[in-house]
């Protein structure tokens, strides 16, 4: 069976994650919790490249570990666009691809036990570098994908309520100041030529801000279902 010119694939992800978040405006302590997460991706597999568009969302349900209860609710949404050029390997065995990409992220949180200034969030849009290392043999496939933000615009963390005018505009930033990266390891099993299932482990991290700093680390495990169009 020869390699097809184009292959379209759509994937659904759903699972759980352990999330840690520190927002220096509200505490030097981190908030943590077990959240639900979901994702959707579309992939175009060409002979020489792979183009991937992926969106994911985390539904935050965190607790700040103080002596009094402090719940943090919210969500983090990510969208990544990556274009990998196949530099080495083939359909069977090892393969490697790399290329440019784009990251967009929005994070929004409400500190439920606080009043007035209890909402916070940050936004980011960065050009990225994306790398993909794969191995496949028969129905089995293993893939590691790394996306690293390089430079772009970041909306510095804001906190407020009805004070929407608080200064929180977009600023230019680079990886040396603000970081966003995601590493995803997937193990897949092709059920037949159209359907594949698997498990994905995603580690995602971002750090934004200087005077007021927000750091988030997510460790997510998802079930994956892939359908070849």
């Amino acid at each position: 069976m020869g390699v097809e010119e184009k292959r379209y694939e759509i994937s659904l992800l759903g699972g759980a994650e352990r999330s840690h978040l520190t927002d220096s405006r509200f505490s030097a302590l981190h908030a943590s919790g077990l959240n639900a997460a979901a994702g959707l991706s579309f992939r175009l597999n060409n002979k020489a490249s792979v183009t991937e568009l992926e969106a994911g969302v985390s539904f935050l349900n965190l607790n700040l570990n103080g002596s009094l209860p402090s719940k943090v609710d919210g969500w983090i949404g990510n969208a990544t666009f990556s274009h990998f050029l196949k530099l080495a390997g083939s359909e069977e065995g090892f393969s490697y691809g790399t290329g440019p990409g784009l990251i967009a992220m929005h994070s929004s949180r409400t500190y439920q036990d606080f009043i007035n200034m209890n909402q916070a969030g940050e936004q980011l849009m960065m050009l990225s570098t994306a790398h993909q290392l794969g191995y496949s043999k028969g129905r089995f496939g293993l893939r590691n994908r790394l996306i690293l933000g390089l430079a772009g615009v970041v909306k510095v963390p804001y906190a407020g309520s009805s004070y929407e005018n608080e200064e929180n505009g977009f600023q230019f930033s680079t990886v040396f100041k603000d970081q966003w990266f995601q590493n995803a390891i997937s193990i897949e099993w092709a059920v037949n030529t159209r359907h594949a299932v698997g498990i994905t482990y995603i580690m995602q991290y971002y750090s934004i801000g200087d005077v007021r700093e927000v750091r988030s680390l997510i460790n997510r495990v998802c079930f994956l279902y892939r359908y070849r169009l």
């Binding site: 505490s27 002596s67 490697y96 036990d113 606080f114 007035n116 309520s161 005018n165 590493n183 991290y205």
Partner: protein, 330 residues
């Protein structure tokens, strides 16, 4: 492949940096004191009007902290330090202990006795909708909102306004209301405005310099219906603080409003909450509130008509502030 190794190396560095997210850090007394002092140093919005040397405060009070202190002793040092700022928004809760600065009303006459109002003016006969306690009698409405922490629905506010619609005036009693949510103050006030109105400015702390504040951010009240546009009297005293102070500030923009009683307690700033590294909850002022004519309202708002309740009045069950309001609306 080389590129992958380079990016993997970068991700290892990033992974190491992200370990900071899950570090709890030391929680000893000295670190906790530094956390408290520093968060105020970087974020407190009222240094510009407090006229205090915050570095001296650090040296003075940190020397009193030792790792061996028990929690009660350490709490006392932190409370004493916060007392220097004389700010009613400053609050620490740790375990069963709570510190808050209350001199803004405890040093002044109370000018409010709810039992006297209830027994001698409302005759123990009042209704309630949501957090609002009210009575409609002889074409006059009286409504008390005890705390702006208590929320309400639009439906509840609609019902309240419809109840008041046939009356010629409303007495809004916010004495003893220590504040809460500015949103609640805004929603309640919006029922008395006919048009979008600038009611205050907010200047947020926005830099390392202690007096660094943003340009004034205007704050508007947009009208909501059903509303009430007849005569209004707002009753105030020194324990009308924070969101209550804001409410009086908003209402005093209206030409049909008379404020009667004592000066409000102030608290013209937006409080922010923070969880210290030892788990205590801190609240502090993050901004400076200015009236629509650019005057700070941190120390309170003067009434249009000053009136007080003497101790003899109180013993006799009288409330001259409420009586003045009734007289004005007759």
């Amino acid at each position: 492949m080389k590129l992958y190794i380079i990016s993997a190396a970068i991700s290892v560095f990033a992974f190491l940096s992200c370990s900071k997210v899950v570090e709890s850090g030391p929680k000893d007394n000295l670190s906790s004191f530094d956390d408290l002092w520093t968060i105020l140093d970087k974020n407190y919005g009222l240094f510009g009007v407090k006229n205090i040397n915050w570095d001296s405060v650090y040296l003075n009070y940190r020397s009193r902290v030792s790792p061996q202190m028990n929690e009660e002793q350490f709490f006392k040092v932190c409370s004493d330090m916060l007392d220097q700022l004389r700010d009613g928004h400053l609050l620490i809760k740790g375990g069963s202990r709570t510190y808050s600065f209350t001199n803004f009303y405890t040093l002044y006459p109370r000018n409010f006795n709810w039992n006297n109002v209830l027994q001698n003016y409302l005759f123990n006969d009042l209704d309630s909708i949501g957090p609002f306690q009210f009575k409609v009698d002889q074409g006059l409405s009286y409504v008390r909102y005890p705390s702006f922490l208590e929320g309400f629905s639009n439906g509840e506010l609609d019902s309240l306004m419809r109840t008041f619609a046939p009356t010629r005036g409303i007495i809004i009693d916010v004495r003893g209301n220590l504040g809460g949510s500015v949103r609640n103050a805004t929603l309640f006030a919006s029922r008395f405005f006919r048009e979008r109105t600038l009611v205050k400015y907010e200047r947020f702390r926005n830099g390392i310099a202690r007096d660094a504040l943003s340009d004034p951010v205007p704050y508007y009240i947009a009208p909501a219906v059903p509303g009430f546009y007849g005569k209004l009297v707002v009753l105030t005293n020194r324990s009308c603080f924070s969101a209550c102070n804001d409410f009086v500030l908003f209402m005093s923009r209206l030409p049909n409003v008379t404020v009667i009683g004592d000066q409000t307690g102030g608290g013209g700033s937006i409080p922010v909450n923070y969880v210290m590294i030892n788990g205590w909850k801190l609240q502090y002022s993050s901004s400076l509130t200015l009236s629509s004519s650019n005057v700070p309202v941190e120390d309170g708002i003067r009434p249009s008509i000053s009136e007080t309740i003497s101790s003899i009045d109180e013993v006799n069950g009288r409330d001259p502030i409420l009586e003045r309001a009734i007289l004005l609306l007759k």
